[in-house]
């Protein structure tokens, strides 16, 4: 299970079990719904803004371990960042899981989110890892809904 251990790392399993910021935010400034119709993953991302700063971000919904852990780690990572910084990380994350960015070799801001580079080996699971990020992006852009297929 060598490749598997790269996908289902301890950190991911732990976040799946105890997702952080797995809650609603009362009167959020932005929300968006993310759906993956192929697998039925569905989540809602809530964002609280102070000017340009993401002061709180949380999510609710159902999905697989990869999508849940990714959403959980995203909320931790983005909290306190500016909208612009969040968008940069979204872009880098998206490029990493689609193989356009080599997170080990090229400069980036992904930090411990790099563990999701492992989904590259599992093409069917790339969308699981990126659903929450697309949903956050939609929320920040003021779009209410995003679908990944």
């Amino acid at each position: 299970m060598s490749e598997l251990s790269e996908l289902y790392q301890e950190v991911i399993l732990e976040h799946n079990k105890n997702p952080r910021n797995f809650r609603e935010i009362e009167s959020p400034d932005r929300t968006a719904d993310g759906n993956n119709p192929l697998c039925g993953d569905a989540l809602r991302v809530y964002v609280k803004l102070d000017g340009d700063t993401v002061t709180d971000v949380a999510f609710k919904g159902s999905g697989c371990a990869i999508s849940k852990a990714s959403a959980s780690m995203m909320t931790q990572f983005v909290k306190g960042k500016s909208r612009e910084e969040a968008e940069v990380i979204f872009d880098e994350f998206h490029r990493m899981v689609t193989g356009e960015l080599n997170a080990e070799a090229e400069e980036n801001h992904l930090g411990r989110l790099k563990i999701f580079a492992g989904v590259l080996e599992f093409p069917a699971r790339v969308k699981c890892a990126s659903l929450s990020w697309h949903t956050l992006h939609a929320a920040l852009q003021g779009e209410g809904e995003v679908t990944t297929e």
């Binding site: 598997l4 399993l13 697989c64 371990a65 599992f122």
Partner: protein, 413 residues
């Protein structure tokens, strides 16, 4: 574990040699192919027949005067004859080639629906239908101002027949039901259900995509009005499928798709149509796939299909017993009469994670909603994992499945 009847008189190892793909590895493990309900594998005889057509016989059918065209036409029409005998249709002309079950149901829904369904009429479906036996009817219902009525099921995944009897009335214009549920494995009592519908003069469409792979069928004995299935679930290539329809209906129905091959005469004032089956076969069909379907039927005919069905059922019983022994596993669909489809969930583990980890062990299962979201909603699960068996699967493969499920549980413990 329950005692399971010992499997005899079925030489599964010999059968496996007929299917080249079964000897390959996936992720450095021997392939364990348990996704037969999605698509079955193809035996060498079918591969050879299809290749021979492409290498030596290919030409367009039904229009050439030259040798190859006539030869291809003969081979294609011979496949239609084989289909006729396979389902015991009264006439090969009642067997229309389509791309698969989905296209077949669309054909009936649009063609029958636009002619025979009107304002205030009712269409009866069941709670366990595949999306392809829901969505076409919804569109037709909306277009015609008709209503969809749904036969409910119980918590075992069996249709509640008394409710079905109550739904039928003089406004009912068609009943469209699965012979076997793709997500639950339930075998529905369609012969009885057809007889009940006929008391009201209502025709019945049987979605047979999941029944023809598992047991012999006889459309005349069932008295089915429409009987639709896919070739790629009965060991043929993809893009071959059949709509069987009773001639009285097919003759009365307008064309579905139009174009070449389905006309008698065309002028800018008026077009007249060819008789069945050509009326419903516009354009160049999947000739290789159709000939492949004929070869797949030859393959099945050479087997003892009854013995195959019995063996497959013993595999289902064995798998059900093995998975029932794992406390974290919940089997979804526990009907008394089931075909070899085993849907399950594991507490706290999403089916996609199950599917990925099983795949790393070389085990192919389906994880998802199986194009049956209403079924998932009924059982209150987002998705299930599904193992589906064919007569080339083995007891050892079932053991691998059960052992690997234990590993999945360990990873997530």
């Amino acid at each position: 574990m329950k005692a399971v009847k010992e499997m005899t008189s079925w030489d599964v190892e010999a059968i496996r040699k007929d299917f080249p793909v079964l000897s390959r590895t996936v992720n450095e493990k021997p392939l364990v192919y348990l996704d037969n309900s999605a698509s079955s594998q193809v035996p060498q005889t079918v591969i050879d027949r299809t290749s021979k057509y492409l290498a030596e016989e290919h030409s367009n059918i039904h229009r050439g005067v030259h040798y190859l065209s006539q030869h291809a036409t003969t081979a294609y029409e011979a496949a239609r004859e084989k289909v006729k005998r396979f389902i015991n249709a009264g006439d090969a002309k009642e067997c229309i080639f389509v791309r698969g079950t989905t296209e077949g149901i669309n054909l009936v829904a649009y063609s029958y629906g636009r002619k025979f369904i009107g304002e205030g009429d009712e269409i009866i479906l069941s709670a366990m239908e595949h999306h392809s036996n829901i969505v076409p009817w919804q569109i037709v219902a909306e277009e015609r101002g008709a209503k969809i009525r749904v036969i409910p099921m119980n918590e075992r995944g069996e249709l509640i027949i008394e409710e079905y009897d109550k739904l039928l009335n003089e406004r009912t214009k068609i009943v469209a039901i699965a012979h076997v549920s793709n997500s639950l494995g339930t075998v529905n009592p369609i012969k009885e259900m057809i007889a009940t519908a006929h008391k009201f003069g209502v025709p019945v469409l049987v979605d047979a995509a999941q029944s023809v792979p598992h047991f012999p069928v006889d459309v005349q004995d069932l008295d089915a009005d429409f009987f639709v299935f896919s070739g790629h679930k009965i060991f043929a290539p993809t893009a071959s499928g059949i709509v069987y329809g009773k001639r009285e209906w097919l003759d009365a129905m307008p064309p579905y798709q139009t174009g070449g091959g389905m006309i008698r005469t065309v002028s800018f004032e008026k077009t007249t149509y060819a008789p069945i089956p050509e009326k419903f076969e516009a354009g160049t069909p999947g000739i290789a796939a159709g000939i492949g379907l004929g070869a797949a039927i030859d393959y099945l005919n050479a087997l003892d299909f009854e013995a195959a069905a019995e063996y497959e059922h013993s595999l289902l019983e064995y798998a059900t017993a093995r998975l029932s022994d794992i406390p974290e596993v919940k089997i979804i669909g526990t009907a008394a009469n089931k075909a070899s489809v085993l849907s399950f969930t594991i507490e706290g583990i999403h089916p996609h994670d199950i599917g990925t980890i099983l795949d790393q062990q070389g085990i192919a299962v389906r994880a998802g909603h199986h194009c049956a979201q209403p079924v998932m909603q009924f059982f209150d699960v987002p998705a299930t994992a599904r193992a589906s068996f064919a007569f080339y699967n083995t007891k050892e493969e079932v053991d691998k499945l059960a052992d690997s499920i234990q590993k999945v549980i360990e990873v997530f413990a």
